[in-house]
Amino acid sequence: MKVSILEFETIGLRCPDAKVSFKNKETGSVINLLQMPNGTGKTTMIELLSGTLTGQIENWTTKEIKEFMGKSNDTNTGEFRLELSIEESNKHPKNISFLVRFDFEHGVIELFTIRNVESGLEKGHLPPPSLRQFISQGCVDVFCFQGDKINDIIDSQKEDAEVTINAFFGFDDIAEFLVDIKKYHRATTQSGNPTNQGNIDSLENLKQSWEDRSSVLLTRLDEVKINRKNNNEVLEELEKKYQKIITASSDQSENQVRLTKAKEDAEDSIRENLISLWDELKNPFILSDSLLDGLHEFRANLEAMKLPGGSRAFFEELIELDDGCICGEPLIPARVDHIRSKIEEYLGTDEANIVNAIKEQINETYKNGYQSKHLNDEYTKLEDSISTQTFAETDLTTFLDDIKKNANADDKEIIQNYGTASELKTKIDGAIVKLEKEYTPDKTERLRPSECFSYKAAENAIEELSIELGKMSSRRNITAAYELIKDVISISKENSLNEIKSLLKDSTNEKIKETLPAGSPLEVVELDKYLKLGWKDTVQSQASGAQNIIVAYSFARSVLEEADIEFPLIVDHPVANVDKKNRRTLGSKLGLMMHQFIGFLIDTEREGFLDGVQESGDVRYISLFSDIEGNKAFIDEVERLPAEEYIKSKNGYISYNKDFFVSNVMGDH
């Protein structure tokens, strides 16, 4: 299935009224670049696109809806229309539209679907069934994202790669199904008759306490997540202002980049050296030379003592068979007695096998010439990188302190607030980790729900108690069936997830290879919660901006391909973190990557990238801006074009003229 965006239209919203048409072709790819001055409503448009595609727009709060009202709107109503083309194999493409009507006075929206001319407006979000599974929020985030979110799939602190896979390949549905059967089990066993009243009452009470606790913790988690969202927004704004203070002086800006890079490099080096040391520590025999020497000597002692030598079972069998000794002599009673008296000196067969395996491992370690010096060398590397990082951090702190010292009062306040918001972020993140900590309370902890601070642990305690209660009731057959089905589904899910991850890893690597210059030493070494990058099994913590983008796009394409669906890739500032040379390369490769690309471009991305995309193939250049005094230069310029080259709406202009796009730079970074 191939899905393309044909156009969208906005009326009365927080962006100019406009109908934006995107180019699309039956075969081959096409690139649509959209530029808008800051504050024109780029984020608004991306949020509308995403919310309408997923249908999540119906869940927006009154406050959120009201925030979408255009400043010059005097009707208290608005509209957003999105038209898609859907092409299923061996069928003609079909168009489908979604229409969102805003009532700003009451803060409500109505969503309609127009499946075809005959059906007309139908209330609700009614995508074709075959598309429905691919336009959940988790899926749409794969092809509709902000450029700076690219790093999330390779960020070890995030789990975006796995979240994507879960969404696209139905694992979210399986997880939901497991929750449903868990709820069913809890409800069914609750209604069963107890077969043993003994402890049931106290267990029921305990389970209720855990349910209350879980509910409190979940509410707390929701609150903390809202705080995180709010604080992140504040932090993002403050960070921009903070960066402006630093970049006020070009020297300082360069210094900051240099010092930050030195600190990040040192942190990467610590991670690499720590992983190497940790790998070495996994072999306990090499912790000290005297240990290995001692073990080797001990092994020799075992040999000398003939331990395990032979196994007790061998001699027992020899007596049992009564077919003479292995030396050919008959086994007379005196000899049998002698063997019986000695048999205790030998180990059982299984124990003997284990001891032999251990002896082999000692021998192997010893023969390989391992020495604790090697471990010490790894430690020294770690120690050095920690020192380097400490110096780099001190340099950066001193630099930032100097900036703060020399700043004016307003800037000082911004820096102060930035620091406070950053500290708050750390605290909030810590609180979330605690609330989401995965473990099952043990028997003692299970008696004290009020001391638990993780809702996941609370849920696990409820689960265990439900199973115990189920086993004590007349519904124990349901509990047994529940445990079985839960295990079967969980194990199958885990296995399938691992298989898909392996497939996606290979497919992503193929695409990376196609796109990066030949011989580039970069690949996905491991795909787990996130993509671990590196080369030949060696992990590196980060790649360059351009490489990260290629990895992210390659991963997105692999996911879509594996799911047998094509979507347009919609990206806000697609190459913001890429240097000029690589912007050109990346631009020229875009055509290879997807059938329809929609990029919201900012000024600093143009150089190099515009040259590159021209090489890539079919490009549509779209400029959109509001009819306001600040855009006078653009308005004058666009109105010089022939009338058919631009469209003026009630409060804005849109032009598809390439020369206008190239010569008018919009969207300051």
Binding site: P284, L287, L291, F298, L302, E351, V355, I358, T444
Partner: protein, 155 residues
């Protein structure tokens, strides 16, 4: 069953909460470090059964290949710590029989698991004497352990 004291778990909380970006990804990783130190110093500390909590029933997958080595370390180090000769066949055989169990997935008997837990607990106590509050950063934590303990282990 690998177990440790609740005090250990509480003490290590901030380090264990940093698991995502750390080499110490699971509780057993930390238990393993304590075990190396306990065995290396020949120090055991009996776990108070009332105050213990389970870590994991059997070795995590990534430690499976170390099962034989850890069993041997326990035999060897416990013989040394008890002052027994490693040349006496009866003593060594009896120790092997006490420790090794082919019926256990961990290759060691239930009593040997308890002994192993006591060594890990001894390791934890030794670490806590040097580090009243746990260092939450994994790199710094391992650096401190290395500096404070590793040169004297198994000497």
């Amino acid at each position: 069953m690998f177990r440790w004291s609740k005090n250990t778990k509480d003490w290590a909380e901030t380090l264990l909460n940093n698991k995502k970006n750390s080499v110490i990804k699971i509780d057993f990783d930390l238990y393993y470090l304590f075990l190396l130190i306990g065995l290396g110093l020949g120090r055991t500390q009996t776990l108070d059964e009332k105050n213990t909590t389970d870590i994991i029933r059997s070795y995590p997958t990534k430690y499976n290949s170390q099962r034989h080595k850890i069993a041997m370390m326990l035999i060897y180090c416990d013989l040394k710590a008890s002052g027994f000769s490693t040349n006496d066949k009866n003593i060594v055989k009896s120790k092997i029989e006490e420790i090794i169990s082919s019926e256990s997935i961990n290759l060691i008997s239930g009593n040997a698991e308890k002994l192993l837990n006591n060594y890990a607990n001894g390791g934890y106590e030794a670490v806590r004497e040097k580090m009243i509050k746990v260092e939450p950063n994994d790199a710094l934590f391992i650096k401190i352990l290395y500096e404070e303990f590793f040169p004297q282990l198994f000497q």
